[in-house]
């Protein structure tokens, strides 16, 4: 088995200013599948082709942003190993009991110096994608409702101490560095990290304020579907930040836009298969404009200034 340890991003918990408005947006415009609400008032969603119970939770708060980003690991033994390794590294971890999050086993949570809560878990209920495991159809009605991404893909998290986040993800959690933006003095400004064959499962941006969300990203199968997403956004008055265009960095075809509370999200497609033995791709910071928007080659000011 090639992908071991951390398997993939498993869930993001996002704060919205109005829960009902948020539910309508994530269900009807973004086109996630509604998986219900828990007693704490968190509303759960999954992308249609995901099999585990949920990948997005939203909750009402008076501040926007992200509460936590979680990863699924391959087994309880791995979860325990990471817990010990994180503690040995000097990170405080806490166990959150099974069931605190719907249909999810015990989670090991820790906070990075950049202010972001990260958690690991081994168990979440397989509810399937509705197509079955026996002679399945390739897609169903949920694949065409709203933008309808197939999965939660990654997040870009911003905060001061990028170096610690990079060190923990690479040296404790087994991710590898795929691409980076580097200042003339060698300081890393942004990094894209993979635990799989994707160009990124998580990315970090150096930023003066800690705990800031840059975006949570969702996967679409084709560039055509990215254009369809652009139509749906405009049809629903969704504020768009950048795109449709292609990132030079990771080569994804992308749109950045904002949910109803001002949390940025991305719908994207493309990229290339990444491998741990590949040399890191470096973007000197003066080439950030084309790294961000290859078609227009201009720095969108919002990329480095707008966070939630």
């Amino acid at each position: 088995m090639a992908i071991t340890g951390v398997l993939r991003p498993g869930h993001a918990q996002i704060r919205v200013l109005d829960l009902e408005e948020g539910v309508k947006f994530y269900r009807d415009v973004l086109g996630l599948v509604d998986m219900g609400r828990d007693s704490q008032g968190r509303h759960y969603f999954k992308a249609w082709d995901e099999r585990d119970h949920h990948s997005v939770l939203i909750r009402q708060a008076d501040k926007t942003g992200i509460d936590l980003f979680g990863f699924k690991v391959d087994s309880e033994a791995t979860l325990e190993k990471f817990e010990k390794d994180l503690q040995a590294y000097g990170v405080t971890t806490k166990r959150i009991p099974a069931g605190e999050m719907m249909n999810t086993g015990e989670r090991v949570q820790f906070t990075l110096n950049n202010g972001h809560a990260i958690e690991l878990y081994a168990d979440k209920k397989d509810v399937g994608n509705g197509l079955g495991y026996h002679n399945p159809k390739p897609w169903g009605p949920d694949a065409e409702r709203g933008i309808a991404p197939t999965r939660l893909d990654h997040a870009l998290l911003a905060g001061g101490d990028l170096d610690q986040a990079l060190d923990i993800f690479v040296n404790v959690l087994g991710f590898y560095l795929v691409e980076e933006v580097v200042a003339p003095d060698g300081m890393k400004i942004a990094v894209w990290l993979s635990c799989s064959n994707k160009t990124h499962d998580i990315a970090f941006l150096r930023h003066a304020e800690d705990g800031k969300l840059h975006h949570v990203s969702f996967w679409l199968e084709t560039w055509e579907k990215v254009l369809r997403a652009a139509d749906i956004m405009s049809m629903n008055d969704v504020p768009v930040d950048i795109g449709p265009t292609r990132h030079g960095i990771t080569r994804g075809a992308t749109i950045y836009a904002w949910d109803r509370s001002g949390n940025r999200f991305e719908t994207f497609s493309g990229g290339y298969p990444a491998y741990p033995d590949h040399a890191v791709i470096t973007w000197p910071v003066e080439h950030l404009p084309e790294g961000l928007d290859y078609a227009q080659r201009k720095l969108h000011e919002t990329f480095l200034t707008v966070f939630s």
């Binding site: 109803r260 001002g262 919002t302």
Partner: protein, 119 residues
Amino acid sequence: METQKGNTTSVMTEEAYEYVKITIAETGESFDCSTNESVLEGMRRLGKRGIPVGCRSGGCSVCKCQVVKGEYHQHRPMSTEYISKQELEENCVLTCCIKPKDNLEVKVIGKMHKNVCEK
């Protein structure tokens, strides 16, 4: 598809509205804005500049202004990360979350022009 809740270009979908003038205090520049759209969206839609444009949904604060003249009403919640009660009392607002009632004059205080309201 979501039914229109009108947080941005809602001019076509709602009832009576009129156009008022929004003036940016620092530059004296002005633009016409419908009483049915946010001050920020009114500016952005006309391709005008002056107030920084971000999420247009009350979550990021780059559009923060102090309204120094004129009446407005708040039609969306603003993230309290960026707007305190006291600031609200001093008419410091996120311009993507307010619609004008009559001519307004605003001072830009988001990101680039910090802390006008803070004591």
